[in-house]
C-alpha cells in the first residue's frame, strides 16, 4: 500500500499554516478571483501572501497545489493564464485545472509543473481520464464524488495517473463542473465565477410563528420551525414540493457532510493515493481538528493499526453525515 498524501484546505494564509502544522502533506488554495471554485469573500490569497505561504509550506516539505479550476468565459482567459504564470513563478507544486484551454496553456507553458485534473472536470471514466493524461500529461485526477469504492479500485487499474478522492467535508449533490443552479437564481456562475449560493444573496426571514425561511435570491430554499437549526441555503440541500411526494422533502439531499473515515482503509487499498479534505471556507479550528484526526488515522493504517475512527466520527457530531456514493450503488 502506497502512503497516501493528505491534501488539506487552505482558504487563508493562517488556515494554511494551521494545516501545515497539523500534518498536511499538501495544501490547496487559490487566488482572490474567479480563477478558483471557492471565490468567496474573505477567502484566498493575494500574490504576496501566496509567495510567503509557499516558502513557509516548503520548509517542512508540504506541497502547495494551486486551484485554477473554473472555466474562463470567452474574453477573460488572460486572468487564468496570468494566475498560472504567477503560480509558476512562486513555485507551486501543482496546478489543479478543469478547463481544456487552461490545461493546454499550462502543459505548453509550464511543462515541468504537475497538472492535476480537478473534480470540476467531471472525468468519471477511464476513457475521459486517459484523454486528459494523453493530451496534457495530467499526473493526478480528483475523482467526481459519484463512484463506489469498488468502482474506484477498478478505475485505478485502468488509468495511468494517481487518484485523489474527497474523504471529508461538504458534500455537493450535483456533479461538479456541471451545475448552473446558482447562476439560474443569482446571476453568478459556479463554473465561470467560482461561486455557489453567494452569501450576499442569502436571507433569513422569520415569520410571526417563529419559523425561519432561508432564501437565495428570490427563492425560498428551506423553512425551519423553532426547534430546528437553520442550515445555509444551498439549492441542492433545500426542501421542496412535488405532487409525487407527500409534503416537503429534500428533493436532492439532506444538509449532510461527507465522512469516509470508516472507508479509509478500503480507499487506500483501492489505490487512492491522495485523500482530500474539503473546506477552504472553514475556520482554523475546524481545519486543525480535521487535519490532525485524519493525520493520525492515516498514520495508524500505514503502521498496520486500526485507525481511531471515533475521533473522526466526532468531527461531525451533531451533524448528519454520509458516505455518499462511495459505500453503495443504492445512494444513486
Amino acid at each position: 500500500m502506497i502512503r497516501p498524501e493528505l491534501v488539506c484546505p487552505a482558504g487563508t494564509p493562517s488556515a494554511m499554516r494551521t494545516a501545515v502544522d497539523a500534518g498536511a502533506d499538501a495544501v490547496y488554495c487559490g487566488f482572490q478571483n474567479a480563477t478558483n471554485a471557492r471565490n468567496f469573500p474573505g477567502l484566498n490569497f493575494t500574490v504576496p501572501e501566496l509567495e510567503r505561504a509557499v516558502a513557509n509550506a516548503h520548509v517542512g516539505g508540504t506541497k502547495v497545489l494551486l486551484a485554477l479550476n473554473t472555466f474562463p468565459p470567452a474574453g477573460k482567459v488572460d486572468l487564468w493564464k496570468e494566475a498560472a504564470d504567477t503560480g509558476a513563478r512562486l513555485g507551486v507544486d501543482a496546478f489543479i485545472v478543469a478547463d481544456i484551454g487552461v490545461a493546454d496553456y499550462i502543459a505548453r507553458k509550464h511543462p515541468d509543473i504537475r497538472l492535476h485534473l480537478s473534480v470540476q472536470a467531471a472525468a468519471s471514466t477511464p476513457e475521459s481520464i486517459r484523454y486528459y493524461c494523453r493530451e496534457f500529461n495530467v499526473k493526478r485526477v480528483v475523482l467526481p464524488r459519484i463512484l463506489t469504492v469498488p468502482e474506484i479500485k477498478q478505475m485505478a487499474d485502468e488509468i495511468p495517473c494517481e487518484i485523489e478522492t474527497f474523504i471529508f467535508g461538504n458534500h455537493g449533490l450535483m456533479v461538479e463542473g456541471r451545475c448552473s443552479l446558482t447562476n439560474y437564481i443569482t446571476g453568478l456562475s459556479t463554473n465561470m465565477d467560482g461561486v455557489c449560493s453567494p452569501a450576499a444573496q442569502v436571507e433569513y426571514i422569520k415569520d410571526d410563528a417563529g419559523n425561519l425561511s432561508t432564501r437565495l435570491g428570490e427563492y425560498t430554499i428551506d423553512c425551519f420551525s423553532c426547534n430546528e437549526s437553520a442550515g445555509y441555503p444551498t439549492i441542492c440541500k433545500g426542501r421542496y414540493l412535488t405532487p409525487a411526494h407527500d409534503g416537503p422533502y429534500y428533493a436532492f439531499e439532506e444538509p449532510i457532510s461527507l465522512n469516509l473515515s470508516t472507508l479509509l482503509p478500503d480507499l487506500m487499498k483501492a489505490g487512492v493515493t491522495a485523500l482530500k479534505i474539503e473546506g477552504r471556507q472553514r475556520s482554523k479550528a475546524y481545519v486543525k481538528s480535521v487535519v490532525s484526526a485524519y493525520r493520525k488515522a492515516v498514520d495508524s493504517i500505514m503502521a498496520g493499526q486500526d485507525p481511531q475512527i471515533s475521533d473522526l466520527l466526532a468531527l461531525t457530531e451533531g451533524q448528519k453525515e454520509t458516505q455518499g456514493a462511495f459505500k453503495s450503488k443504492t445512494w444513486r
Binding site: 470567452a74 478547463d99 471514466t125 475521459s128 456533479v175 451545475c179 439560474y184 412535488t242 436532492f252
Partner: protein, 293 residues
C-alpha cells in the same frame, strides 16, 4: 431539433419524429442523452426514424450520453464513436478518447466556455459547437467569431427548459421512494419533467431523472437577430410536449425575416406553455429573468 431529453414512450417518440420530418428544421438530433437505462426502448427504431428524416431532407445527428460511468455506458459511447453513417454530438469527455482524427460536434453539456478550449478541440476534429446555455452574449459573440475563423459552426439553444445540473443520483426515483437501479421508469410520468416548487409554492425547477432543468422555458426569439448578426449558425429547439412543429415554424419565420420578433413572441405566447419564458443568461443575469419582454 435537439434530442428529446425526457423519457417519452417509443410510440410518442415515433409520432414526434414523423411530425418533425415535415417541420422547417434542418438538423435533428437523435439519441438518449440523460439516462442509459432508457436507451433500449428506442434503439430498434433509430434506423427507421433516421431514414425517414434523411428522406425528408434533414441532417440526422446522433447525440451521446451526458454522464458516463458504468461499463454499459462506456460501451455505448465506444459504439457511437465508431458510427460511420451519421455525425455525432458528444456530451461527455469520455467520447474524446475515441475520436482521434474523426469529425464530431460538441454538445451543450460539454464545457466549452472559451476560445482556447474551442480552438484546441477544433484542431482535433470538432467541427460544430453547441454552446452551454449559461454563457452570456458577449462570450457567445467571441466564440461565434472564433468558430468562423476555425472553420467551425456554432449553435445556441433558443427554446425549451434549461438544463441546469447533472447528478449521479436519480431524483425522479428519489421522489417516489426508490433508487436508480430500481426506478421502474417513473420518469415516464413526466414528459416535460417533474415539477419542483419551493415551500411557498413558487414554481422553480423541473426534474428529469439525473438531470435538473429550469421550470421556465428559455426563449431567445427576441435575440435571434443579434445571434444571426454575430455569426451563430444554428438555433437549437429543445423538444417538449407543446406543438414543436408550430414552435419550429415560428422561429423559422423570424429567422427568415417573414415575421418580426414581436409577432413571433406573441405566437409563442399563444401556445399556452404552462411556464414563463426567460432569457436572463443571455443578458448576463440570473437565468430565471426575462429581460426586455
Amino acid at each position: 431539433m435537439a434530442p428529446i431529453l425526457f423519457h417519452w414512450s417509443a410510440e410518442d417518440k415515433l409520432a414526434f419524429y414523423h411530425r418533425i420530418a415535415d417541420a422547417p428544421v434542418d438538423d435533428v438530433y437523435l439519441g438518449e442523452v440523460v439516462c442509459s437505462k432508457r436507451a433500449p426502448f428506442f434503439e430498434k427504431h433509430y434506423d427507421e426514424v433516421a431514414d425517414a428524416l434523411t428522406k425528408a431532407g434533414k441532417q440526422v445527428v446522433f447525440s451521446t450520453l451526458a454522464e458516463v460511468m458504468l461499463k454499459r455506458e462506456r460501451h455505448m459511447i465506444a459504439g457511437f464513436c465508431a458510427l460511420e453513417d451519421f455525425p455525432l454530438e458528444i456530451n461527455d469527455s469520455a467520447a474524446l478518447w475515441h475520436l482521434n482524427d474523426k469529425f464530431y460536434r460538441v454538445g451543450p453539456l460539454m464545457n466549452v466556455y472559451n476560445e482556447d478550449t474551442m480552438a484546441y478541440l477544433a484542431a482535433r476534429g470538432a467541427v460544430h459547437f453547441s454552446l452551454p446555455p449559461e454563457l452570456p452574449r458577449d462570450s457567445v459573440a467571441i466564440l461565434a467569431a472564433k468558430a468562423k475563423e476555425l472553420g467551425a459552426t456554432t449553435e445556441v439553444q433558443v427554446f425549451g427548459r434549461l438544463s441546469l445540473a447533472l447528478s449521479a443520483r436519480c431524483y425522479h426515483a428519489r421522489a417516489h421512494g426508490r433508487i436508480k437501479d430500481n426506478c421502474q421508469f417513473v420518469c415516464e410520468q413526466d414528459p416535460d419533467g417533474m415539477p419542483l416548487n419551493t415551500l411557498d409554492n413558487q414554481e422553480f425547477l423541473s426534474v428529469n431523472g439525473i438531470q435538473t432543468l429550469s421550470h421556465s422555458y428559455l426563449n431567445l426569439i427576441g435575440e435571434l437577430q443579434d445571434l444571426q448578426d454575430m455569426g451563430v449558425t444554428h438555433f437549437r429547439l429543445s423538444p417538449h410536449t407543446v406543438d414543436m412543429v408550430a414552435v419550429a415554424e415560428i422561429f423559422r419565420a423570424v429567422l427568415d425575416g417573414e415575421t418580426n420578433a414581436k409577432d413571433g413572441r406573441a405566437q409563442l405566447d399563444a401556445l399556452d406553455i404552462p411556464a414563463p419564458f426567460v432569457n436572463g443568461f443571455w443578458h448576463g443575469q440570473a437565468g430565471h429573468r426575462m429581460i426586455g419582454a
